[in-house]
C-alpha cells in the first residue's frame, strides 16, 4: 500500500538538508549584530545595532550599492528589450537557423562565468574599450537576456497563436495588436523575467571581476572587505541588504507566476 505519510527517517533527512542550506545564512545575519569586530567568534560576545549606523556612514558602501543598482537596472532594461524581441522572433516566425539562434541566446548561462568574463575582457581590450559602468552592464546583460528570453519564450508558446490573427481579423493593425493583445498577455512574464534578471545581476561576482576595472559593485566590495579585518560586521550588514534586495524580486516573481496557467493556457 502506498502511504501518504513520509517515514520519519526521510523527514529528518529533509530537515537536515534544509538546515544545512539555510543555517549559514542565518549565521551571517547574527554576526551583523555582534560586538566583536575583528574575528567571527561564536557565540557572539554581545549584541549591538551600531554596525547599521557605521554602515550608513560609510561612503564606499553607498558608492558600491549605487553602482550595483545602476548596473542591475540598466542591464535589466536592456535584457527586457532584447530578450523579448528575440523571443518574439524565435517563437512567432520560421527562418533559417532559428534553432541555432535559440541555442546561442541561451548558451551564456551554461558557460562558466569565468569563461564569459575572460572572453569579454579580451574582447574589450582588443576593441580598446576602457572599463566603465557600461562594460559591467554588457557583462551582466549576457545572462540577463537569457532569463528574460526564457520567460518570454515560454509565455509566447503558451499564448495561442490565433490571438494575434483574431486581433487582426477584428480590424487591428500590427501596432494596435501589440498594444492591446500581445503586451497584456506577456506582461507578467516580462516583469518576472526582469525581476529575476535584476536579482541575478545584483549579486553577480565572477563576470564582474573581469569587466569592472577599478569600480566595485556591492558583491565585489564584500569580497574585498573580507580580507580586511576592520569593522567586519559591516560586511554582514551589507550581506543582509544584498539578500533582501535579491530575495524580494524573486519572491515577487514567484507570486506573479502562480496561477498564470489558467490565463495563458486559454483556448480550449
Amino acid at each position: 500500500m502506498h502511504s501518504d505519510r513520509a517515514p520519519l527517517s526521510l523527514k529528518i533527512a529533509a530537515a537536515a538538508g534544509l538546515l544545512f542550506l539555510h543555517l549559514p545564512i542565518l549565521l551571517i545575519f547574527v554576526y551583523a549584530f555582534t560586538t566583536e569586530e575583528k574575528s567571527f567568534q561564536w557565540p557572539p560576545p554581545g549584541l549591538t545595532l551600531k554596525w547599521f549606523a557605521v554602515t550608513w556612514n560609510r561612503p564606499d558602501v553607498w558608492e558600491a550599492l549605487g553602482l550595483s543598482v545602476r548596473v542591475a537596472a540598466i542591464a535589466t532594461i536592456l535584457a527586457m528589450i532584447l530578450g523579448t524581441l528575440c523571443a518574439a522572433a524565435v517563437s512567432r516566425t520560421r527562418f533559417f537557423g532559428r534553432e541555432t539562434i535559440s541555442l546561442l541566446v541561451i548558451l551564456p548561462i551554461a558557460l562558466p562565468g569565468v569563461v564569459t568574463g575572460i572572453a569579454l575582457r579580451s574582447a574589450f581590450s582588443i576593441a580598446e574599450i576602457p572599463f566603465s559602468t557600461w562594460t559591467i552592464v554588457l557583462g551582466h546583460a549576457t545572462f540577463c537576456v537569457v532569463i528574460v528570453y526564457n520567460n518570454a519564450v515560454a509565455r509566447f508558446r503558451r499564448t495561442s497563436g490565433s490571438l494575434i490573427e483574431a486581433s487582426m481579423d477584428l480590424g487591428a493593425n500590427l501596432f494596435q495588436t501589440l498594444r492591446h493583445v500581445i503586451l497584456p498577455n506577456i506582461a507578467t512574464a516580462l516583469v518576472v523575467g526582469g525581476m529575476l534578471a535584476f536579482a541575478l545581476s545584483f549579486d553577480e561576482v565572477i563576470v564582474t571581476t573581469f569587466t569592472a576595472g577599478q569600480q566595485q559593485t556591492l558583491p565585489i566590495w564584500m569580497l574585498e572587505e573580507l580580507v580586511r579585518p576592520r569593522e567586519r560586521p559591516v560586511t554582514n550588514v551589507v550581506a543582509m541588504i544584498v539578500v533582501i534586495v535579491t530575495l524580494l524580486p524573486i519572491l515577487g516573481a514567484y507570486y506573479l507566476t502562480r496561477g498564470t496557467e489558467a490565463v495563458a493556457g486559454q483556448g480550449k
Binding site: 490565433s162 481579423d169 487591428a172 480550449k268
Partner: protein, 328 residues
Amino acid sequence: MSAVSFANVSRHFGAVKAVDGVSLAIAEGEFFAMLGPSGSGKTTCLRLIAGFERPTSGDIRIFGESVADLPPYKRHVNTVFQDYALFPHLNVIDNVAYGLMIAGQGRKQRHAAAEEALEMVRLGGYGTRKPSELSGGQRQRVALARALVNKPRVLLLDEPLGALDLKLREQMQEELKGLQRQLGITFVFVTHDQGEALSMADRVAVFNDGKIIQVGGPEDIYFRPEVPFVADFVGSSNVLPEALVARLTGERCPAAIRPERLRLASDGPLKARVTGLSFLGLTTRVSFEAEGTRLTALLPQDAPRPVEGETVGLTWAADDLHLMRAGA
C-alpha cells in the same frame, strides 16, 4: 456579383500544394460549406479569404474587390476560430467589443452593441465574466458574437463546432443556421464532418489534395457523387469498381450505390458473401464481399436477415446505381 470568388487560386508552401488551382463563386447570403479530410486545403482556402495567407497565384475577390494586397484588418470579413481565440486578459464584453474599440467607437456605445450581440447568442448578462470561466459552448457563442458585432459582409467559420460534444453540436448547428437566415450574411464554413456540411449548408464544396472535387447542393453531393472519392467520403456510399460495373451494365466507369438501396434477392445480379452483421435499431447493417469489393447494406428490420458466411444475391433499382462518368 459573388460574395467571394476564387479564380484559379493556388497557395504553395514550398513543394506542398496546399491549395492547387481552385476556382469557386460563393453567392451573397449563401451558407457555403467547405468539406474535406484534414490537409485537403479547405482551411487554407478560408485563411486566404480572411487574409492570413496570400495566394501564390490566382485572384481572390470579395464583393468584386480584388483583395490580394489587403491585410486581414482591411477586409470586411470576420472569423470564428477553431479554438475561439478569445482574448484571455479581457472579459466577455470587452472581447466582443474589441473590433468596435479598434474602429474607434466610444466605450458606452460599443458596450451597448456588444451586449446586444451577446443577447443574440443568448449570453446576455455574461459580459463581466472572463473567457476562462465559460464552458466550451459559451466560448463558442462569444466568439460568434465577437465576429458578428462588426457586421461583416462574410462570416468565416473554421470548424466552429469541432470542440463541442455531440448534443451541443447538434444544437449549435440549428442555431447557426437560424442566425444565418435571420442576418442574411454570407457564411463560409469549414468542416471535416459530412453530416454537419450536409445538414447546414446551401451548397457544399468537397476538397481533396488542394483541389475542389465537386460543388453542389447537399442532395447532389449525397445522391449524385461525381467521383468515387466523394461517394466514399460523403456518406460512405458503396463504390463499385469499373470492371464490375462494366460487367453489370456495360458502362465503363465506377458507380456508387447507397447502403440503404441494396436489397437481398436470390436472383440478384451480384452474388456476395455475408461477412458481418450489426444491429443498429431501425436497420441492420450487413457487410458483404463480392468479387473482391467490400459492400455495406442497411436492411430494414422487417426484411429477412441473412446469416454470416452465407452467399446471397444483391439487387437494386436501376436508378439507384449512380454512374460516375467523371471518375473513369
